[in-house]
């Protein structure tokens, strides 16, 4: 297990550098001069020159990229915003907890509701509960989360006036954004749990358990559930990344000051260091999440553990 963990952590390094390279290259080739954008169209030539020098914009690509990696990952300095002149790390750190919390609650909601729903659907296959849940899940998968957010605002803020349409500090403010972001994942986790449970329930060892007179409760939770959870865990890990990205839309629907909104604003103002930093941060968190999921996976599934003895 230790060897596997170490192996996986080392594998993370090329991935992180690769992600940084992709994002850095993308924004490097972007048309438009950030110096002009930051200083305004009619800034004097010397000021533009000075700006380019300060931010090292005239250096060759590889030099710029190596500097970015070196300063970023060894000194925690991802440059400064062109607009506010604050360090990127500071700007992101102010916003990141909100985005992370939003994604975390959304995953949590998906797990806490999705898994029980999936289990009930599988156990009572073709019942009314199953059919209704599956229709809702079908719509949930097809629904863009920003539209779900708009509909919730329409119903609960505009018509009923129960919940505030924006913000993310009090519980009331959090209900709609978390549900909005969670919608698709909830549907996917429910469907995955259901189909995985159905498959496991058909297995021979479940029939054996029934034959020896095991109680139905024990069959479902002791025998079937642990095996049925393996694909569900993978899905949950993948959902976390989707939700970190999808948070960008939810944040802009509910005017939540998270990394997503910051990035959308920064893209419009061509504030590249912020955009780069934001994408990198989210990708990093996603990588660590995946690592955690894979380790959990190895811990749950002895077959993987056995490979790394």
């Amino acid at each position: 297990m230790l060897r596997y963990t170490l192996h996986r952590i080392l594998m993370l390094i090329p991935v992180v550098v690769g992600v940084a390279l992709i994002i850095f290259t993308l924004l490097y080739i972007t048309p438009g001069d950030p110096a002009r954008m930051a200083l305004g169209e009619d800034a004097p030539a010397e000021a533009v020159e000075q700006f380019r020098k300060n931010y090292g914009l005239d250096d060759p690509f590889l030099i710029q990229f190596s500097r970015y990696i070196y300063k970023g990952f060894l000194q925690g300095d991802f440059g400064r915003s062109y607009v506010t002149k604050n360090p990127v790390t500071v700007e992101l750190m102010n916003r990141f907890p909100i985005t992370l919390r939003l994604a975390f609650y959304a995953v949590l909601l998906g797990v806490v509701m999705g898994i029980p729903f999936g289990i009930i659907c599988a156990v009572k296959q073709y019942s009314l509960f199953d059919s209704v849940t599956m229709v809702l899940a079908l719509i949930g998968v097809a629904m863009p989360n920003f539209w779900l957010g708009i509909l919730l605002i329409l119903l609960f803020s505009v018509h009923l006036g129960w919940l505030p349409p924006s913000g993310f500090t009090t519980f009331n403010e959090m209900v709609m954004p978390v549900f909005t972001l969670s919608g698709g994942s909830l549907a996917i986790i429910t469907r995955m749990t259901r189909s995985s449970m159905l498959e496991v329930i058909k297995a021979d060892y479940i029939r054996t358990a029934r034959a020896k007179g095991q109680s139905e409760f024990k069959i479902i939770f002791r025998h079937a559930l642990p095996n049925a959870m393996i694909p569900v865990i993978t899905i949950i890990g993948m959902q976390f990344g989707t939700l970190l990205g999808g948070g960008i839309l939810t944040e802009s629907v509910f005017s939540i000051p998270g990394v997503g909104r910051l990035m959308v604003e920064s893209i419009k103002m061509r504030d590249y260091p912020i955009v780069q930093g934001g994408v990198l941060y989210i990708a990093l968190v996603y990588c660590f999440m995946n690592l955690a999921v894979d380790l959990l996976y190895a811990w749950v599934d002895p077959r993987i553990k056995a490979q790394y003895r």
């Binding site: 992709i22 097809a142 629904m143 863009p144 505009v158 990205g245 839309l249 629907v253 990035m263 959308v264």
Partner: protein, 284 residues
């Protein structure tokens, strides 16, 4: 349609017809494609025709789905929006299919170091959430229909690369491939004529489902102002501008969303149906 007796295509079609949901999906899609192609004839008004005297009108006989903040007919804009969404979905998926497919086929067929390098690069791309990557790419390319297609297309390249690599790996050791090689066929011929046709089934299913994803991504990008720019009708963009009129003009934010959901559901139905029809052994 003309089929040879009991051909693969015919069997698939027969099986697909037994699946009611898939047929519903197919019918909706055909209707949507029809709408998109004949938008000029079907739309009661031009999508850009403004009429400030008729702005923000609720649905009525002359404007079935009402008018927006510039007095433009919502129904007409939805109809033209179908054209944009389907175009983006199809072109974006074609881009990822061609790029991802060739990378995956090369990786699977040649194996070894090349395989390792290609798949590691794909893994790296996969560690950026898809929508985030699409946002970054379209931020870099700038707004516009074509750039939107590229951004959405590139962001789902790894999915196709992985799929095709796996299928090629499972096919390339088969005897008929060896037979082709023994008869002196070159690599390109073997891959294109012998291996690829046998990887079609998962590819068709995946492509159908990916079109749905691509349409969702495109709508999301337009919603945050990165995709298609305002005067041009795009469902996500329409929702974005409708947000300012939630109080009093709720219908503006209903119809584009309904259009998106119906399209996605239809594609999902068809995709799932195709999966079952093309591979009856693995019926889920």
């Amino acid at each position: 349609m003309i089929f040879r007796k009991n051909s693969m295509l015919r069997l698939t079609w027969v099986r697909l017809c037994r699946n009611h949901l898939a047929i519903v999906g197919l019918v909706i899609l055909v209707a949507l494609i029809f709408t998109a192609v004949f938008a000029d004839v079907l739309a009661p008004y031009a999508y850009f025709k403004q009429s400030l005297r008729e702005r923000l009108q609720a649905p009525s006989l002359s404007h079935w789905l009402g008018t927006d903040e510039f007095g433009r007919d919502v129904l007409s804009r939805l109809i033209y929006g179908a054209r944009v969404s389907l175009q983006v979905g199809l072109v974006a998926v074609s881009i990822s299919l061609v790029l991802g497919g060739s990378l995956g086929a090369i990786a699977g067929y040649y194996g070894g170091k090349l395989d390792h390098v290609i798949m590691r690069v794909m893994d790296i791309q996969l560690s950026i959430p898809t929508i985030l990557l699409a946002i970054a790419i379209s931020a870099a390319l700038g707004p516009g229909l074509f750039n939107l297609m590229i951004a959405v297309g590139i962001s789902s390249v790894p999915a196709f690369a992985r799929l095709l690599r796996a299928s090629v790996l499972s096919v390339k050791e088969m005897e008929f491939v060896e037979a082709a090689r023994a008869m002196g066929a070159g690599d390109l011929r073997i891959v294109a004529l012998h291996i690829l046709p046998n990887c079609c089934a998962p590819l068709i299913v995946q492509s159908t489902l990916r079109v749905a994803n691509a349409i969702l991504s495109a709508a999301s990008l337009s919603f945050i102002g990165l995709g298609i720019q305002p005067p041009f009708p795009e469902w996500g963009g329409m929702l974005s501008s409708a947000r300012g009129y939630l109080r009093g003009n709720a219908y503006l934010s209903l119809f584009p969303g309904i259009a998106i959901v119906i399209t996605i559901i239809a594609l999902n139905f068809l995709g799932d149906g195709l999966r079952d029809a093309l591979d009856p052994k693995q019926k889920r």
